[in-house]
Symmetry: C2
Subunit: 257 residues, 2 copies
């Protein structure tokens, strides 16, 4: 495989606020038109998780959440809203690490992340109600549906990535990662390919969709939804299709659980 | 701060093989000219660690390395060349995790990484000698020197990132990270900025230079040196300058050591 020599990312202009039930593919197509951008099948569209969650109705009114005893306990340790902690526990398989202000869990999807990916910023209503936004039920399926819908609307089948921002052990700051992926290899396996001198490459699997999510994150801006959809042109190979679930390291291969 | 709306990355064409003592800035300027690209002060140039290490003479002839008893012991556990393990130990503060084929250490720079960043692929000579390539002595200083030299040669002061590929806990595949940074904020601190609804952002520090290194990695291709230098246009703000050392999480704030 030859890597491409140019990669261009463009934020779709004036993407509107998204509400439950919105047709995100149609919104993206309109935004592409506003930007004078014609979608191509070798493009990748990166969608911020927040707009997917909003369109899929994953907003929860905190007034409806009754914390369990376990959530109340844990909320004291991490010093977070017990209703939020209750939602985190419902969305998680297990708690990985806790300390003041930090609640790292294994999400039911297998993602190890802070707060089960639940976000409170940018989720409000005009009446000042308090809401939390859960991750999509199944972001890989969301990506497939978006790709299908884009094909219907445009005749093109771009790659689709759903991105979130994750903190990391050992390093400061969040980076974009792929929690959903369609029409696109989430990882590139270079095992067995020789290097320039013919020696087999040893470090060999690349977190391809994560790198693309990180690139898109530079344009999205952290926390804001002003630019939730990024067109990426020049990524190269479309095959084989592989979901973002392939980016989750199997527990038995993980030394840091 | 407004994030940019377009980010374009271009691999500098036909970058030559690099040898000890080479003037990388001059090689980059020639490659930019070949590509018809005029450097601007608001650009960022991302250099693969390997070409920095080669130019700085960090290639070690394995025939000159005598493994210590500790290296011989550890080499049996991880099933690697004892001479390579000896170099890893010399470059490290401590061993973090080991198992067959895996040797994760805290590098003397504070980076937690496999094999202290020492690479054996793409490092050979015509006579078939075996060599290993260490990380640069001080990649942040390397980045500053490159930037200074680029200014002398072109009158422009671009940002400079030195990138490497790191594996990660919990996730499959390597991604590009910044181990050196100059003229450029390695992290973006958004603390205190309101979200779209005026609620203060909570997840607030972005691994900015890491995201740019990941974006560049899509074009570099893993393991190859065919495209070791990537021009990044559209990154936005240049201030404040902050080294890549700022991306290393202080041990007392790290729950996964």
């Amino acid at each position: 495989m030859r890597s491409p020599v140019e990669l261009c990312l463009t934020a779709l202009p004036d993407f509107p606020q998204v509400a439950s039930g919105d047709d995100l593919a149609a919104l993206a197509v309109s935004a592409l038109a506003r930007g004078g951008l014609a979608l191509r099948s070798d493009d990748v569209l990166v969608f911020a998780q927040k707009v997917i969650s909003k369109a899929e109705g994953r907003r929860i009114d905190l007034a409806t959440v009754v914390p369990s005893a376990a959530a109340l306990d844990l909320a004291r340790t991490v010093q977070k809203d017990p209703r939020l902690v209750e939602l985190v526990l419902r969305e998680s398989r297990r708690v990985v690490r806790t300390t003041k202000d930090v609640l790292i869990v294994e999400h039911r999807l297998g993602l190890i992340m802070a707060n089960a990916g639940i976000d409170q910023s940018n989720v409000a209503d005009a009446a000042g109600g308090e809401f939390a936004l859960l991750l999509p039920e199944d972001p890989d399926s969301s990506a497939v549906r978006l790709r299908d819908r884009l094909r219907v609307l445009t005749g093109c089948e771009p790659g689709v990535v759903i991105s979130d921002s994750f903190g990391r052990p050992w390093r400061v700051g969040t980076v974009g990662v792929a929690i959903g992926c369609a029409g696109f290899p989430a990882t590139l396996d270079l095992r067995g390919q020789p290097d320039l001198f013919g020696r087999p490459l040893r470090v060999t699997v690349v977190g391809h969709a994560d790198e693309i999510a990180s690139a898109a994150s530079v344009l999205m801006g952290q926390g804001g939804e002003a630019r939730p959809v990024i067109l990426v042109r020049g990524v190269g190979s479309r095959a084989p299709h592989q979901p973002a679930a392939a980016l989750i390291r199997p527990p038995q291969q993980d030394l840091f659980r």
